[in-house]
Amino acid sequence: MKNKIVINLSMFVAFIMVIGCENADFGKLNVNPNEPNQPVLASLFANTIGPISDIVGATTPNHYVQYIANGQYPEESQYQTLNWSTAGLFATLTDLQKIIDLNTDEATKDNAAAGNASNANQIAAATILRVYYYEIMTYRWGRVPYTEALKGIENQYPKYDSQEEIYTGLFNELDMALNMIEAGAGPNGDYLFDSDMSRWESFGQTLKMMMALRLSKANPTLGADKFNEALGNVIASNAENFSYPYLSEENNDNPWEDRFLAPDFRRDYLVSDVFVDALIGSGTNVTPEDPRLYKMAAPAVTSNTFVGAHYGESNDATDDYSFITGDIIYNQTAPLYIFTYSEVLFARAEAAALNWTTEDASALYEEAVKASMEQWGVDSLAATAYVAANPYTGLDSIGYEKWVSLFLQGYESWAEWRRQRAMGYEKELVPPTEMLSNATGIPDRQAYSSTAAALNKEQYDAAIAAQGPDALNTVIWLYK
């Protein structure tokens, strides 16, 4: 009896284990119902435009070039941030790579073009945007992974490429993209240029000109070549300026408005004394010499005059100082500029002065200042009077006026200021007395992500060995 039960039980156990087949079939249970498993190219493309806003709306580089000062918390103007994460930009580059791949791979390219722009136009637009982001990355951090980047686990430890290689590579990519542009619409989801390929072409050419000028110190030969290739294809009026289009809704409005009104309601940023005093110039704090100051800044509440806040220091009583114009900080849809006509004109003036071109530096300088005045809404009479009083006297004029004209275009201005300092004709700026993050002067670059050393140590160490310490004041190849 007892044995029989044992046998029965053993058989039952055996049965249970045998029905335990190798694998169980759960059907489609593990298919994620929350997110699409197929890419939608229009949505991917739209997503790659957003980060432009983070660049054109950033605050810190506007401190570096001393356009703005802090209110009661001075740390940002004293360079409190050492490590800047590259993760967001690399993620965007991954999205762009996905778009390029889907339009390149035989298996997917037809599908990618169906109901959308041609494969060529999608690749061209995505590549131009990729070059734009990459150039910003290299002038912010210096060496960055480029040739071996974005390969996932196929290459877990991408090497950091030299800036020289990166610029050469980016020009090649840009030229390829510009050559690919063909008739027809641009990519779906392109809310930057409304799927207009002619705008992409003009953006690509303007980008090429800016990148070419950026090499004036590091590689003027290549710079001059590329500059001349772009010349004639760049924008020709303020109406063609490139800016990020903001909407009057909380999720897509101008970040300056977010800081001063909803959702942050803060008063952290004032126009700096360096900038205000420069624009007051020979005028007074009521009638500044440079008429753009009326458009760029608001008079202080307590005195109703233009008063710049002390750069690099705490400015407690914010009502005593000038804020950035309410047209920007209280306006959800105020555009923030990527590249403007005046910047193109200043570039052409400088290239002419450097003998890269045969254009007239003086005339272009005057046009550049007037274009800036027009961009800021200054009437032409006042603009003409200003130019007459401040004629072209050489590259120093370009240095100063370009600095003024790039007001609030932080990253672009910081990149250009460093270049012009390397060339010796920048608007002179004095670093603050108290500097954080081991800084010893106005930042020459930004340090890599705080995890960079941990996650890609060998290549990080190699980059540091070649470039210098991972500090704010290591001068990068571009500006050496």
């Binding site: 007892k2 039960i5 039980l9 039952f12 156990v13 249970i16 284990m17 335990g20 694998n23 759960f26 249970l29 593990n30 994620n32 119902p33 929350n34 997110e35 699409p36 498993n37 939608v40 949505s43 991917l44 957003g50 009661q72 409190q80 941030t81 993760a87 690399f90 993620a91 992974p145 974005l150 390969k151 996932g152 686990i153 877990q156 430890y157 991408p158 909407l247 909380e250 999720n251 909803a262 959702p263 309601f265 008063r267 509440v301 109703n304 009583a317 914010t318 009502d319 108290e434 081991n438 992500s449 705080s450 995890t451 960079a452 050393a453 941990a454 996650l455 890609n456 140590k457 991972d470």
Partner: protein
């Protein structure tokens, strides 16, 4: 009914009276234990009478009895003996150890009851009694310090957060109530708990599969015993107050400078009648730091004196300290906890119903919680062989508001951005003259809040109420096929649903906002088991079980929030969102199929061998490879049974086990999907996700071995239980960090190897044990090492979590798990700090700071009973482990903490200006004027390497230390008296003529005494876990800790 009762009583009395008429004689003798030692304090009763006595110090006794009477000898821990009085007048008794004490029956996996002595793995039981006396509503709190190898990680006690425990280093513990896997410890009524069985190792939890991987706490609820019919009422009321706050300075008030601002009348800005205010001293209202003037009673315009149309307008009042302002903000909290239980057991049935109501008002204004929970359990014999059983529990919990933790909440306001002189009472009235006002006003002419609303506005107008519904239940049948063979089938269900809203009030600093969030998780389980038990021979006995489990869990959530504000003033809804509301929803379904079998063989109650096997198939693993097999074996040897009986070693057991536990990937980790972004107008956005999927991801196995020694000495008065465990996670599905330049931030893979090991020691001592007085002591200690042997091919570092300015939690190959990396002072080879030419300390990034794992954790519990009075004390402690303190960093940065005042090395107030040099920031120490203020920093110069020291302006000095992580890393050691209880059980005879069967009254307290904490003003045993690592490693401005004192009344009818 009552008449009938008194009738029986009379009858009984008459019976006793009759007995006393019989012939009596005097009996005397000696009582000794089995080693021959006399036993004092043995109770001797003439059975069936009230006559009794005790042995004296030498074990002697005398008692009156008559022939034929039965004398009952009882002594705690020894077996009761009965001796019939015969002809002799001398009765000597040798009392034997009570086998029942050793043959403790404990609850093991799947609710199977086993003799503790037969277990081949560590198991510890925590009785429910102390829970119901101390009215602890959180099971994890009740386990703090009681079980070796359990590390307690509390949530700030002022909030409603759940505290966490880690068993052998892991969180994610499975809680089981009467075989039902509940969602969490908060779903259980603690008054229902009979006992909790803590299973730590893989051998103990093997039958639970993946969910039991990190340890299991099996909760057995009370049931009615046969013949029992009771109504129990357990009522308590407790008051709760703040007990630890950082030590604040009370010398300097709000501001950035020690000079007051002066009001200057400006006709262009100010009304004409303000001209009279010209020259008045003002506070720097906009400053939310306390580097201001001395609080010396100077008459100044406080913030409320600028609010027109109020009585305070124009007032000048002294600028004086309010040392208790922060403490004053917190109110006294109150908790009332009422539980009623009905239980009845009879021939073939048992029912129990329990209803609990817990109302708590927290110390933060407007934070209240009301929990109502009912449970019902029943079992009945449908036939001789068929038993049916059912349990259900339902909880309705409503929370009016959760006090936030983390940066930016009310408590962080007081600890990070505050003016020390503020009078808290004046902030209560935050709507004045029709406007929402605050201490942090913009300026006299613009008295709207700048960066901070009144803390009362935050408490009252920014609400996030939540309603929770938690249901769990089961229904099952058990059929006894033949004697020793039975089968059960059970269906189980849990359903946890949450609804919450969040709103930010109109008129405050932010945009009015409203959001709703709903989530539910439902789990269904079908479980079947066949059990067989038999004696194979006189020496061998066997028990075996086999069964299956089908598991299906569904999670669903939906959340919506307004964007761009609310269009209807004073009204909160999604429908009045100004812009398109933000929406998101999520659902997840996971299924698992499992079979298991186990068998145990015992030899003469000396040797026991257990074996188990379990197969799991789960839907989240690769469809080509979704089965994980796990096996376990354990054995125990009761070596004391092989030794001659002796008076020292009462019991000795060696145990060893080797077992495995499965782990499956998370849902949806196998194939690529695209993340949905916030749309631009009507243009949708998608992006490639940062985590690379892996279609080959499969389940993995953790293996663990364990050795233990369990001994009892001196009749069980000393017990020692020691365990060594070693567990290895190998090839588990894990996420590994990638450098973002790869285009991704992490990838999923089956890789890595980590080894945990540690010792666990539990000691129990009964120094005194007599009938009237008993003193029990127990203590435990656990250590834990966790080594990272491998991460993935070619990967040596994994970033687990990041915090303030590059502070990271990492794991590095070859190192202990859980290391903190961040900024350290840059030093020369002799360890001197390297300083800039202005005395600024230079620092390096990505440097080793410490490790969050403690050296050891443990606790001690003592219980002293004198007659019916009982005193219980529970201590717990932790040694080592690193923690980053944001509170301390900000206390210093904002001039709030005590360390920011006092004198410098020159004997001058630190906050005085630095003198003797050309800079207001710093002066070389050698040049400093004799009256110079500033804080001394010493080191070496960064260019020359020569010794350098500076007096640095206090604000600058602490500003430079901000986010210099090394300076704010603390050791997380603590010792605390977590709980104390004193209660009195009324003697039965006092209750004889009442309807009350049992009566116990008590007082209790929790967080009574923080004996030691490494961070002054912060209880490191209750740290928020805002990085969700399962370890609170950054204390980020959390809500304070509270002390609770209450009274409790427990009546059984």
């Amino acid at each position: 009914m009552k008449t009938k009762f008194s009738g029986i009583l009379t009858l009984l009395l008459a019976f006793f009276v009759q007995i006393t008429f019989a012939q009596e004689k005097t009996i005397s003798g000696t009582v000794s234990d089995n080693s021959g030692l006399p036993l004092p304090g043995v109770n001797i009763i003439v059975k069936g009478t009230a006559t009794g006595t005790q042995t004296d110090f030498d074990g002697n006794y005398t008692i009156s009895a008559k022939s034929g009477d039965v004398l009952t000898f009882t002594y705690v821990g020894l077996k009761a003996q009965e001796v019939t009085v015969g002809a002799s007048n001398t009765i000597n008794v040798t009392m034997e150890e009570d086998a029942a004490v050793l043959d403790e029956v404990v609850v093991t996996a799947l609710g199977i009851k086993r003799d503790k002595q037969s277990l081949g793995y560590a198991q510890q039981t925590v009785e429910g009694e102390s829970l119901s006396k101390a009215r602890e509503t959180n099971i994890n709190n009740a386990l703090a310090g009681k079980v070796a190898g359990v590390q307690f990680s509390g949530a700030p006690s002022s909030g409603f957060g759940n505290s966490n425990i880690r068993l052998r280093g892991d969180t994610g513990i499975l809680y089981i109530v009467d075989n039902i896997k509940v969602d969490g410890p908060a779903d259980v009524i603690t008054d229902d708990i009979e006992s909790m069985s803590v299973l730590k190792g893989a051998a103990a939890t093997a039958l639970y599969g993946p969910q039991g991987k990190n340890g299991v706490i099996i909760i057995t609820t009370k049931t009615a015993k046969a013949g029992q019919s009771t109504v129990t009422l357990n009522v308590s009321t407790a008051a709760e107050n703040v007990y630890v706050l950082p030590e604040y300075q009370n010398e300097y008030g709000g501001g950035y400078s020690q000079d007051f601002n002066i009001f200057t009348y400006n006709p262009a800005l100010h009304p004409a009648d303000w001209a009279a205010f010209d020259g008045q001293k003002m506070v720097e209202y906009y400053a939310d730091e306390s580097w201001g003037p001395k609080m010396d009673g100077t008459l100044v315009r406080h913030w409320d004196s600028w609010i027109t149309g109020t009585p305070q307008f124009g007032e000048l009042r002294p600028f004086s300290p309010n040392p208790n302002n922060v403490r004053d903000f917190y109110r006294q909290g109150l908790t009332t906890n009422t539980n009623v239980t009905f239980a009845k057991g009879g021939e073939g049935f048992s029912v129990r119903a329990s209803l609990a109501n817990i109302e708590r008002t927290g110390i933060v204004p407007d934070s209240d919680r009301n929990t109502v929970q009912g449970s019902f359990s029943a079992s009945m014999d449908l036939s001789e062989k068929l038993t049916a059983f059912a349990n259900v529990s339902y909880q309705d919990r409503r929370t009016s508001n959760f006090p936030d933790n983390g940066y930016g909440n009310i408590a962080s306001n007081f600890n990070q951005w505050w003016q020390r002189q503020l009078d808290m009472d004046r902030l209560k009235d935050y709507v004045r003259n029709g406007n929402v006002v605050s201490w942090n006003i913009n300026s006299p002419s613009n008295p709207t809040p700048l960066y901070w609303d009144s803390p009362y506005f935050i408490a009252n107008e920014t609400d996030n109420p939540q309603q929770k519904h938690a249901f769990y239940g089961r229904f099952g049948l058990n059929y006894e096929i033949i004697d020793g063979l039975d089968a059960s089938l059970e269906v189980r269900k849990t359903l946890n649903a949450y609804e919450s809203t969040n709103q930010f009030g109109f008129g405050g600093l932010g945009q009015p906002f409203y959001s709703e969030f709903e989530s539910s998780r439902g789990t269904d389980e079908l479980f079947g088991i066949v059990n067989y038990q038999t004696d194979l021979s006189d020496s061998f006995d066997l028990s075996a079980s086999a069964g299956f489990e089908l598991y299906d869990t569904n999670y669903k959530s939906i959340s919506a929030s307004t964007a761009g504000g609310l269009s209807a003033d004073g009204f909160y809804s999604l429908n009045t969102s100004v812009d398109r509301p933000n929406l998101s929803s999520y659902k997840e379904n996971v299924q698992r199929k499992s079979t298991f079998a186990k068998a145990s063989i015992g030899f003469k109650d000396i040797v026991f061998i257990d074996g188990s096997a379990r197969y799991d198939w789960q839907s989240t693993a690769s469809a080509q490879n979704n089965r994980v097999e796990t096996y376990g074996i354990s054995g125990s040897l009761i070596f004391s049974k092989l030794l001659p009986q002796n008076s020292v070693l009462t019991f000795g057991k060696l145990r060893a086990s080797l077992a495995e536990a499965p782990l499956f990937p998370n849902a949806y980790a196998l194939s690529e999907t695209y993340a949905i972004g916030t749309p631009y107008g009507s243009t949708g956005k998608l992006s490639v996700k940062g985590q690379l999927p892996n279609q080959n991801l499969i389940g993995g196995v953790r293996s663990e071995y364990e050795f233990g020694l369990e001994t009892k000495f001196f009749n069980g008065r000393v017990g020692i239980d020691a365990t060594y465990f070693n567990k290895v996670d190998d090839q588990l599905p894990v996420g590994v960090s990638l450098d973002p330049s790869t285009g991704y931030t992490s990838f999923l893979t089956n890789s890595g190897k980590q080894t945990y090991d540690g010792f666990e020691l539990a000691v129990s001592i009964i120094p005194v044990r007599t009938e009237d007085f008993q003193w029990d002591l127990s203590a435990n200690l656990g250590t834990l090492n966790r080594r990272v042997d491998k991460i993935a091919d070619g990967v040596t570092t994994n970033v687990l979590s990041t915090s303030w300015r590059g502070l990271q939690l990492q794991e590095r190959e070859g190192d202990e798990w859980g290391t903190l990396y961040g900024r350290t002072f840059r030093r020369d080879e002799n360890g001197n700090k390297i300083l800039s030419s202005t005395g600024s300390p230079r620092y390096d990034t990505d440097q080793y700071l410490g490790n969050l794992l403690p050296d050891f954790t443990g606790g001690a519990t003592t219980n002293i009973r004198y007659k019916n009075l009982n005193l219980g004390l529970d201590f717990d402690f932790q040694k080592g482990g690193s923690i980053f303190s944001v509170t301390r960093m900000f206390n210093a940065y904002s001039g709030l903490g005590i360390e920011t005042v006092g004198n410098n090395a020159l004997g001058n107030p630190k906050r005085d200006p630095v003198t003797g040099g050309s800079s207001a920031t710093a002066v070389p120490a050698a040049q400093a004027g004799s009256n110079s203020g500033g804080v001394l920093i010493e080191g070496v110069d960064e260019t020359t390497g020569a010794p350098a020291s500076y007096y640095v302006d206090a604000v600058t000095y602490y500003g430079r230390l901000f986010a210099l992580h090394e300076n704010w890393i603390y050791d997380a050691s603590y010792v605390k008296l977590r709980q104390a209880r004193l209660d009195y059980t009324f003697p039965k005879k006092w209750l004889d003529n009442t309807f009350i069967d049992k009566l116990n009254v008590g007082v209790y307290a929790s967080n009574l005494w923080l004996i030691y904490t490494s961070i002054d003003g912060v209880d490191v045993s209750e740290i928020e876990d805002n990085n969700q690592t399962g370890y609170g490693w950054t204390e980020g401005g959390q809500s304070p800790n509270t002390r609770t004192v209450g009274v409790n009344l427990n009546i059984t009818f």
